[in-house]
Amino acid sequence: MNRIVWCAAAFAVAAMPAYGQDADVSKLREELRQLQQRLQALEQRLQETESRSSKAEESATRAESTATQAAQQAASRPQTENALNPGISAILNGVYSNLQRDPNTYHISGFAPTLGDVSPGRRGLSLGESELGFMANVDHMFRGNLIASISPDNSTIDIEEGYIQTIGLSNGFTIKAGRFFSSIGYQNAIHAHAWDFTDAPLVMKAFLGGQLNEDGVQFKWVAPTSLYFDVGLELGRGRAFPASDRNKNGFGSSNLFTHLGGDIGESFAWQGGLSLYATSPRDRAYTDLDSTGASVTDSFSGSSRTWALSGILKWAPEGNNTYNNFKLQGEYFRRRENGTLTYDTTAASLGTMAGGYSSRQSGWYAQGVYQFMPMWRAGYRYDTLNSGTTTLGLVDSGALTAADFPILGAYNPKRHTLMVDWSPSEFSRVRLQFARDYSRMGLADNQIFLQYIVSLGAHGAHTF
């Protein structure tokens, strides 16, 4: 304000006609200019002081709020020793099953029974397996993970996974030891609660006895490339199908695997995998009905090699999967077994006999799951198996007939599955699934599942 007045005055003075002497006027002007300058300097100082004081005020307020918040944050920090408790998670699931055929007679025709958990479950309402998990970093070198599943019917606790994993190694190496889901194919390594369908693909049921968890060691190396590339080796005891727990030192199974993966633009991500699982089962037994109608125990000894090829493609517009996304997944399994098949090991029918055995079997599935709006997804899966060629020495030599090994008879099972699920949050899911299953020779089985899966507590990240 003052400045304007002074300026006006100065202007007026400057513009005034020279009444007096020029010298006087110029002196006056000079004084006026000096005054003006002083005033400007003063004004500037005043402004600076003002802004400084407002800044000080603001920083005081800030300090105050910081102090309050610091106190609040300190108070919110747990002070007790349970601050170091591991993360605990529980997965609950329940299912209503409507099965056209008796699940107790479930088998996959053309394929040796795996003794694994492959049946579609119970009819009616049932509590699924509850999972209890503990996970934490052990120290700077290891991370520990224990996941137990509690079976509701016989109240047994089964360790699904219990392993330690290095976090302190460099150059892309990780080592896992303990019991873990084997990296065969893609879905085997993923916990059932994170599957997109209620049950496992037929290839997992026929070739891995459901889901294969191995006691062993896994070495993995991730290459320092911008394209994801890993190679790994698992050495295990061979505790379950397709191995047979052999009571021997050393290793009972090995699995060599590799993955490649990357992005295509912002919207697509993919991963491909190849694995070779090898084992040499001894006296791997199963029961069958022979030509006389007697229940006999047959067993296989020899070598078993399973190749698994898998591919995943995920799409989300610009990588934002919140509203829409699509996941395409497929796996191809191929198994070759050579060795000896012993008929009727307990001599319950026609007497114990042994002969050569060789089989080449394969199968694949492909599934697509589309999230068409937030919370809602729908999916379709097609499964098929090829019982391939099985050569039985006992049949070729005429000692027995193919009717003595009905379960090994040629048959190509297949299944169509449709599902729709609703996830009100990332911790809960309700799913309705319908399947027409041709696992049993000549019999279609219509299966309806209504299932919930919820997750309590710490919730680990999901693999790609």
Partner: protein, 297 residues
């Protein structure tokens, strides 16, 4: 075998790089690392402004990037809990594991807002350690800049002077910008705002805006018709002046509320790359404030 050689050949150029590889979980931290590290760092962001940092697939490409990272900069406070821990354990890279100099959780170095008193998932996707979206308070960027600069120096001593110089320059420009933004944002003080997700709280706190509601019924859950109807009622009684959403939010809900209540809605860049103008951190705040001022007027 041939394939393996091909892979190793691809690997060679990466190994030859002498720069510090910075893996940022969000674009704002990649931008900050680039400001401070200049040509001595190579930055990559795991997410873009069009992606919700809560929900990212633990893609193979991200594992490959963390495998080669020297420094990881993330918001932390469990924002990335759905994907980052998995990437870390799969990467086989000890340099960036929690507790190492190569692991930086930005939110640990600022005062966090909205630390919940009650932690229950019935309340939605709450973050027990407080709101992790700290970067929209320019003073927080300033604090993280100091920490990030110190980490770069720790990891790459040889270029300590270079980082110090760039940091001093950045801080000078940033402080000047904060003063400018404070003046511009004065008009936003007390303005009631409806947000989509609670990812705007730090800006509100800095600019003195008042949050009048959120389109999400609970943090992390998508808007529902019943909640939107309630919000319309609420806005009829006590109207807000602006509805804001991020590039990764569906504009539908904001548009709906805007149509029903005649309260203008505006998409804010949220992070670097969110709009054409938000090319860097300066542009992010320039554009955020400009868009708000234009809408509120």
């Amino acid at each position: 075998m041939k394939f393996l050689f091909l892979v190793l050949a691809l690997a060679a150029p990466l190994a030859a790089q002498a720069t510090v590889n910075v893996f940022a979980c969000e674009p704002e931290w990649a931008a900050l690392a680039q400001e401070l590290g200049g040509d001595k760092v190579t930055t990559v962001s795991a997410t873009t402004a069009r992606q919700d940092p809560h929900h990212i697939e633990a893609r193979p490409s991200l594992i490959a990037r963390i495998r080669n990272a020297d420094l990881l900069v993330c918001s932390g406070s469990e924002l990335e809990i759905g994907w980052l821990p998995l990437l870390l354990t799969q990467s086989g890279n000890d340099r960036v594991q929690p507790g190492r100099p190569g692991y930086l959780e930005a939110s640990q170095y600022v005062v966090k807002l909205e630390i919940p008193k009650v932690i229950d998932r019935a309340l939605g996707d709450v973050h027990p350690a407080g709101n992790p979206h700290i970067h929209l308070d320019p003073r927080n960027i300033r604090k993280v800049a100091d920490v990030l600069s110190a980490r770069l120096t720790e990891i790459d001593h040889a270029n300590a002077a270079y980082y110090a110089g760039r940091t001093a320059d950045f801080v000078k420009r940033w402080d000047a910008a904060i003063d400018r933004w404070r003046e511009q944002a004065a008009a936003l003080r007390g303005v009631p705002v409806v947000v989509y997700h609670k990812d705007f709280s730090y800006f509100e706190n800095w600019a003195g805006m008042r949050e009048a509601g959120s389109l999400e019924p609970r943090p992390g859950l998508p808007p529902t018709p019943s909640h939107l109807a309630e919000l319309v009622d609420q806005m009829m009684r006590t109207p807000a002046k602006v509805i804001v959403y991020s590039p990764y939010n569906n504009p539908g809900a904001a548009q709906f509320l805007s149509d029903k209540t005649k309260i203008p809605s505006v998409m804010l860049p949220f992070t670097v790359g969110g709009t054409d103008r938000a090319k860097d951190l300066f542009g992010l705040f320039d554009d955020t404030i400009d868009r708000l001022l234009k809408t509120v007027k």
